[in-house]
């Protein structure tokens, strides 16, 4: 049994490689390297897996899931990621890296129950991060 809950946050970013010129960055990242940044409304889906607890009828306490997810995503919400969030000062704030970041932040609280993180950057593109073996077994 898996349970999936969706969340949203909004953030700005700029994709660029520090030691390259603005022109070189524009060649690689196109409009995503606009020097003043740009933003998205991100949608995040967090999937947990487990057995139904016979006392509660639940796989996970959703209030607890909301609390952990809210704390992780709260650190990204309304931020310029590549300036204000240390992880993304070091790593490109792409959808791929944001998905990994959220996975790592949630893993500490959710442990083995976390099986899949999906990050939608726009309605037409999304990124998924999961451990292949465990996700496919459970699912």
């Amino acid at each position: 049994m898996t349970l999936t809950k969706a969340y949203r946050f909004s953030a700005a970013h700029r994709l660029y490689i520090k030691h390259l010129s603005d022109e070189e960055n524009e060649n690689i990242f196109k409009s995503c390297s606009n020097v003043h940044g740009h933003g998205h409304d991100y949608s995040v889906q967090v999937k947990v897996s487990g057995e139904i607890d016979p006392d509660t009828g639940m796989v996970v306490n959703i209030d607890e899931l909301d609390r952990l997810s809210g704390r992780a995503l709260g650190e990204l919400d309304h931020k310029r990621l590549d300036i204000e969030v240390p992880y993304f000062v070091e790593n490109q704030p792409t959808g791929e890296n944001i998905a990994k970041y959220i996975w790592d932040r949630l893993k500490a609280g959710l442990g083995e129950s976390l099986v899949h993180v999906r990050v939608g950057e726009t309605k037409n593109s999304y990124f998924e991060y999961f451990e292949e073996a465990s996700y496919l077994d459970e699912y």
Binding site: M1, A6, Y7, T56, V59, N61
Partner: protein
């Protein structure tokens, strides 16, 4: 290489429920279930996705006739749609009607109704309680 073929049909229903464990005190129920423990229940617009797996019939080009699947779904949802699940549905007299348990109950019902023909059998139940919350349930063996 073997390919998996899936077909999914979605249907909506509206129902109310209450989360309450009769073995617990009122205080503990409120602590664990919060607003969902309200005495008269509350409701959601659910939608259920029934996914079947199987082989594509050479003559019809189908895994399952969608009209048949639609009829089965309508029949199953009669016990759920516009019902107070704790009182009006036979499966939740002693089982808390959480999204998880509703999905598991639906798996059993649909698995039986669809039959165990390897050419077309139930693959997954996905149940949305809201747009932002769903559960997936499937079981490899019955």
């Amino acid at each position: 290489m073997a390919f998996k073929k899936l077909l999914t049909k979605k249907m909506e229903f509206s129902a109310s429920h209450r989360y309450w464990n009769p073995g617990w005190s009122e205080e503990k129920n409120k602590e664990v279930f919060g607003k969902s423990a309200g005495p008269y229940g509350h409701g959601h617009n659910y939608s259920v996705e029934v996914t079947v797996e199987g082989e594509v019939d050479k003559e019809t080009g189908m895994i399952i006739n969608l009209y048949r699947l639609k009829e089965i779904m309508k029949e199953v949802l009669e016990d759920f749609d516009h019902k107070y699940l704790n009182e009006d549905n036979p499966y939740f007299k002693e089982l808390i009607p959480t999204t998880e348990n509703i999905a598991r109950v639906m798996w059993d019902i649909f698995y039986e109704k669809l039959g165990t023909d390897p050419g077309c059998k139930l693959h997954r139940i996905r149940l949305y309680e809201t747009d932002d919350l769903y559960v997936d349930y499937r079981r490899a063996e019955q």
